[in-house]
Symmetry: C2
Subunit: 658 residues, 2 copies
């Protein structure tokens, strides 16, 4: 009973020879397997299955099967408003975690919000507004337990730089603000639509590598923008590329650097970075890094207030409007020439915001071991931005840095967002006037220390090691953002990602197989140098569906290999190739162009007096070979269960020799 | 010596268990194969190889290896001017074939040229000009022996409809003509550049199915346009969609139909179709169909001349300018606002022209068994159009109908194009005045009978049978052309083709494998209903490279299958899944996103207490698993040569049970 399978292997090897025209004599019989050709599915059923796998791969309707109507309604409610799901077993212990996490991210978000609003060329209160309403909506509709909602640096920068190409944010403030709300509205619509139409997979087209590069570039660009506040400059370029910024900083003498500003900024930046470093090294002290920004703001504000540093050229926030979000529904453009621009800007910024939120949601869900439904999440984010656009908020999404803090502080549910929202609410109502003397330099320091985390050089190094093409995409996006503009970096990232897809579909890999001596296994001879070519037969594996994009290439690639072997046959003492065996295991599908290419290959082989044999074609390929009647041309007896069976049938002597 | 391989099979089965952590006791030894991990290639070498396979898969420099300098020069000359290649063994017998073929296609092209020029809204002589110069250039540079060069119906229609969107061809004749030459110039530049930059594979992105639909739609549109000449209408719509045309034809009463015109047209159309039918049925009589058009023109012209039918409303050609092509170099726009339009129009029409020519070249080369180099061919076609644009020609390419006649008449080399060109030369010099009384109706009949061949309903039916998605592309392009416009049909064709590519890369196929009882073979259980799942193990095959576009889908798809099995375990009496074996044979590549997904999969499995094993990863995947250090995480001993080896190692008892 040691290895009972072996007895059966022998039987199989004999039985497998069955459909074969060569001069085999007495074969014994069972068990013989024909290459399976599943019964043809009805067109509509086939279509429905393909449709489901494309748009509903997660089978969202499964829980509804065999349920009562009330239960179905409840499930539906829970689907769209997960709060009814997790809310049912919410308890005090969970609330404790959420409360601490909520307070922590609130302390972090208030100074960040004020700074990020500036990146979007908006007044500081709009940053705070955006941390009040959207988190409320998300708490009801969102399914990630760890994400922290609010304005984020990269999207703020992107929105600001796209908007200022259309409207001047200083001379035309009113129109700029309206355009920002309109863009936010359409960002939300785009996000919700993508989710609703189950097109969430489209955001996968921005590759991980491109995002790493884009984020790092954006972080550097944002950091450079902060030099204005950090150095206390009065004039500063509107461009975001590094060369323009450097000209602004080191431009015509005197540079306009304000030393008291630099002193405040540098001291607090140092403090923030040290706190961050400590928090990273010692997980127990991470609250230090979480609380440091708010602490710095309070301290710096006090210092300026006491020393009257604002009279010595230290720029301060001056004025933040008190009170909560005014309604802004009537400010959204629903017609006119601004509409088109807003739709374009909103959809681009909305998709980038989505990418960030979905990446965060997936990461933390993976760490805690729960599932986040990407499409549902998009609907939640979209709804939150639509409502936000009507309550004076600009585009919000999940923030990398604050979500990490949220997770570390022990958040349990989206209630932490609710807590944060409440803190921001009271801040808007009561505390904003106290920010009057907050120096801009401290905000710049906070933003610089926050975006440094977006530069993931370790990931970039791993990308370099693993995949050079990915590295090109990464560096292309990075350099595009740093040296040209955020839009250009994004465009480069998308183009390189698409180039990779095109390469993949036009130049699939193929390999020549050889036999591993002493086994019936055939493997790529480049990978297994022990692999021996079968004399008289060329065995080729095609590693992709054969579609119009690659059918010609595959056909010509195979013929070229045959020509190579023929030349070897002429110069060296090698038997002429009489059989071409194509291993089709990986050929999952074939379309009409592929069928044509296969037919042409067959005809070319006939001219060269080479026999074609196919090994292990999949179900779809078998079905299409039959439908197109190519099966009859090639011969049903030339289609084998495995390469081994094909070799035994075609060159029985060779198998003896190996 | 019957089946000597069997003894070895046993040895292999034992040896294969080697890297496995499970409780196997005494194993005997050789030959054992590890999963190969080829030595790491230097980055530059790897890049150079990928570059070569992408842009120079045909290895065009191979003949130059180890040759003297003179020989290299000769080979280079022959490469760019194949006339030096085939010209060396040209002889009288070949000339005889070319002469007959050349005269036949000349008799066919003259009436067609006059008609096609009208489709492009140009005067009739421009059609003839375009059959004089471009074939000369092609005869020197082209490598297809069977293609017949000249204006073609579809490209003429496309050019005409794109140009008239920009400039009115009647009121602004001069400018229209200049724009046509400029577009032709840039069509040639586009074609030559695509070939020169080895980007010929880009035309493969128009799928066969889309082209079938587009061509059929264009044929119907062209046929409908001929109703003007056929019915003798004075006013006719400028739009090409079927609804506008029907309104023009059946519009306000009186319709303006001219009965003598219809009589002439109908009789000759009937004659042409009968001749065509006879030629198709009886290959020996095919010359009948080839000569019928010229014969009809002569006869119809005589009839009109004798009966003075032109006084009864039968429209005639009236005037064709006598003399050969005037130079037109100075009419091409190299600056100004027309330049951009011409570049756009030229590149679109140029690519469609290329698609047609390359398809023809490949078809006939396949039939005669010689190779056509696509990229070289594009350079030849581009050069021919650039020279054409300077000698009053508009865009030319290979014609389906005339190339078929060329082939049937026994052409041997591009010399048949030369002969045709000479005939057109003498026609232009001497005979054009004789076309004065040629009725437009006969030209319409000739075009209708020519374009009918472009409606390939058999191909459409085959597409329906083989691939439903292809059929959607086909019908989309067809309906787009017929009901909207040529451009719209083209756009639809391109969009559907791209949608298919995106689907392919985002939703790769995966399958659950089962063991074929009595064999060590594991196959898709949907295709082989005999396949038995291995108790306690889930075996999944992934059929695509794992890239950023599909990595999330693949990860989630596998986890969902695992969830399904877990549910079955709860409800039915099935052992819990403890091992997930991923068959990686078809995973040719993995990028950083794929590595991440695999890592996340591994972590999720750890949480579920399921062990991950990989079977037969390819060389690139092995290399990247090592580079990313994921190999260490998964464990080198969890990577197996085959599914069989993995099953034996993980669930040794199960293999006994099967």
């Amino acid at each position: 009973m040691g290895y009972p399978i072996f007895d059966k292997v022998e039987i199989w090897k004999e039985g497998d020879i069955m459909h074969c025209d060569s001069q085999q004599k007495n074969h014994k019989s069972p068990p013989s397997y024909k290459v399976g050709c599943p019964p043809r599915k009805k067109f509509l059923r086939e279509f429905a299955e393909a449709f489901k796998e494309t748009f509903f791969p997660d089978d969202p309707l499964r829980p509804y099967k065999d349920q009562t109507r009330t239960r179905k309604f409840m499930l539906g409610l829970q689907f769209f408003f997960p709060i009814f799901d997790w809310g049912r077993d919410y308890n005090l212990q969970k609330f404790r975690g959420d409360l601490i996490a909520g307070l922590t991210i609130a302390s972090l978000c208030i100074p960040q919000d004020i700074g990020y609003a500036k990146l979007a060329n908006l007044d500081p209160q709009y940053g705070l507004y955006s941390s009040f309403v959207p988190p409320l909506i998300y708490a009801i509709m969102g399914s990630s337990r760890d994400i922290a909602i609010g304005p984020v640096a990269v999207v703020s920068l992107l929105l600001g730089s796209l908007l200022q190409d259309e409207v001047d944010p200083i001379n035309n403030k009113e129109e700029y603000l309206r355009l920002a709300f309109t863009a936010t509205f359409f960002a939300g619509i785009t996000q919700a639509l993508l989710g609703f139409l189950r097109l969430g997979f489209l955001i996968d087209f921005l590759s991980h590598a491109a995002i790493v590069g884009f984020m790092a570039g954006a972080a550097i660009t944002i950091g450079l923008q902060q030099l204005k506040g950090f150095l206390g400059l009065q004039r500063f370029t509107k461009s975001t590329d590094i060369i323009s910024v450097m000209k602004s900083v080191f431009g015509p003498f005197p540079h306009g650097w304000n030393w008291p500003t630099i002193l405040i900024g540098a001291i607090f930046l140092f403090f923030l970075l040290v706190a961050k470093h400590i928090g990273k090294k010692n997980k127990k002290l991470f609250w230090l890094s979480a609380i440091a920004p708010l602490f710095s703001v309070i301290l710096a504000t006090l210092i300026v207030f006491v020393t009257h540093a604002d009279n010595h050229g230290v720029q301060i926030v001056k004025h933040i409007k008190k009170g909560i979000n005014p309604p802004s529904f009537n400010q959204i453009y629903f017609s006119g020439k601004q509409l088109g621009k807003a739709v374009k800007i909103g959809s681009i910024a909305g998709i980038i915001a989505l990418t960030e939120a979905v990446a965060i949601g997936r990461t933390f869900a993976g760490m805690k071991g729960y599932q986040v439904d990407g499409n549902k999440e998009m609907v939640a984010l979209g709804a939150m931005n639509v409502v936000g656009s009507m309550t004076s908020c600009y585009i919000t999404t999940g923030s990398f840095s604050r979500s990490a803090v949220n997770y570390m502080s022990g958040c349990q549910t989206p209630v932490s967002n609710l807590i944060m929202s409440m803190v921001v609410f009271f801040t808007l109502l009561l505390i904003t006037p106290l920010f009057k003397y907050t120096p801009n330099a401290i905000l710049s320091s906070i933003i610089i220390s926050a975006v440094i985390g977006l530069i993931d050089y370790e990931a970039a190094f791993l990308i370099w090691k693993v995949d050079k093409f990915d590295f090109i995409a990464c560096m292309g996006a990075f350099l595009g953002v740093v040296f040209a503009s955020v839009e250009m970096g994004l465009l480069i990232a998308v183009l390189i990602s698409f180039a990779k897809i095109l390469l993949q579909v036009t130049r699939p890999r193929t390999a020549i197989l050889g036999n591993l001596p002493g086994t019936p296994i055939y493997r790529n001879i480049e990978q297994y140098p022990d692999g021996k070519k079968v004399p008289g037969a060329l065995i080729v594996r095609v590693d992709s569906a054969i579609y119009f994009t690659n059918s010609n290439y595959i056909k010509e690639r195979i013929l070229r290999w045959l020509t190579d072997e023929d030349e070897k046959h002429k110069t060296e003492d090698i038997p002429r190739i009489q059989y071409l065996i194509v291993e089709m295991s990986s050929v999952t599908d074939i379309d009409t162009s592929g069928i044509h290419a296969l037919e042409e290959l067959f005809k070319s082989l006939q001219k060269r007096e080479v026999q074609l044999a196919l090994a292990n074609p999949g179900p779809v390929v078998m079905e299409k070979l039959q439908a197109s009647e190519l099966m009859g041309t090639i011969g049903n007896d030339k289609i084998f269960l495995s390469v081994g069976a094909a070799v035994m049938a075609c060159v029985p002597k060779a198998t003896g020799d190996v």
